[in-house]
Amino acid sequence: MLSLPLLLIVWQALAMVFANRLFPSPIAVVEQMGTLALEGRLLSDLGKTLLRAGAAFAIAMVLGTALGLVVGRRPRVDRLFSAWLVVGLNLPAIVVAIVLYIWLGLTELALVSAVVVNKLPLVIVTIREGVRSFAPEYEELARALRFDSWRRFRLIFWPQLLPFVLAAARTGLSLIWKIVLVFEVLGSDGGVGYRVSLMFQFFDVAGILAYTASFILVVLAFEYGVLGPLERRALRWRTAPA
């Protein structure tokens, strides 16, 4: 509870000590956020970046979960593609973006695809580890109770997979929005990254921090408003009082 206010207090204190245009206080940044939201393009830029990050996030999660299930359940497929995953995990994001921009042009498709390509291996590996941790005794129970594929997935696989899906979602979101910003700097017609790159040319640190803080607020809202409650509800059996 005190963590965030403490950060703001430390920031404010440092800004007062090093009073400089290039080190704005949190109050100045909040004021700038208000100005940019009302008079500038903060909201439309935020919307663009959110749309890109959201699309990339959804595609990477759905595709990564499906592929993670396959490689986790099929050792042969895992052996065949494990090197691909290592390559994917170590591909520099910037290289993927540049190559896709060259191939597909400075388009939304190129940007979202580049983010998906960067995020996908991490989701696959996380889900694969989740599948590997499945308890075989529940599989035996499913066979004894004659579960069909759907019930096996819903009652046996999914509950065991969910903590890994949430972990992948959490790390995915934090990774994706950063990558989106970098790619927007590299080439796009709007969005938080694009605007930050323009502000960089004017050393507009208050503006840069206002944009960054806005996006962080959205991420925090998603974490505490969506992911957190979802996780508490789905995993309530773990914390049910004995």
Partner: protein, 245 residues
Amino acid sequence: MAHGPGLSIAIAGKRFAADAAPLFAGFRLEVAPGSVVALLGPSGVGKSTLLRLVAGIDTAFDGRIAIDGADAAAAPAPGFVFQDPRLLPWLTVADNLRAAAPSLGREAVEEALARVGLAGQGDAFPQQLSGGMQRRAALARALVANPGLLLLDEPFVSLDAALVREMQQLLAGLIEAGRPTVLLVSHAAEDAARLADRAVVLTGRPVRVAEDVALPIPRARRSGETIAADRARLAALPAPTGQMR
């Protein structure tokens, strides 16, 4: 009145690895409808494997296991109680029962739980129950899955003596009430002496029936003395049962 199905077990061959000695070869066992058969024998002899074959969990064998004439794997799900409760921890107790029998309504779930002494526990998660209550919930799940055929794999293992007695009494009552066909795997002669109509002692590799003992006194009429006598009789069977209690 017989309620449960008859079992006809004929296993021509079962091995876990191609180059391993067969666990079963030319094994046959007939189980009458509505009878309680205890499968006794030392640890590792193949009792649990036999139960999994009958349950249709393991289908990798040569031969045929018929449940009222149908292949085991194609027959309706049995009521299976594992050595551990094996309740799905992310489901409530009621939902664990519904996982085995999706059409169960709320009242039927409550009734099934009440039968094993768990009335009012449907909304609890398994981890909120004691070990004994979890065992009873597992028994309730087996009963809703298939009250006619119960396959019990060491259902009393790792329970303390008081809980074992409680579970045995509960099971004896359910057997008398429903007349299911029961295969009870155990390495304890006392389980057979208390619950079974027949005790089959397994031995060797490949597994063979070393002894097939009838326990003709009806369960309801068994006294402490008759149980002790049957227990001693079963425990005194020749070498293969040496590890039985």
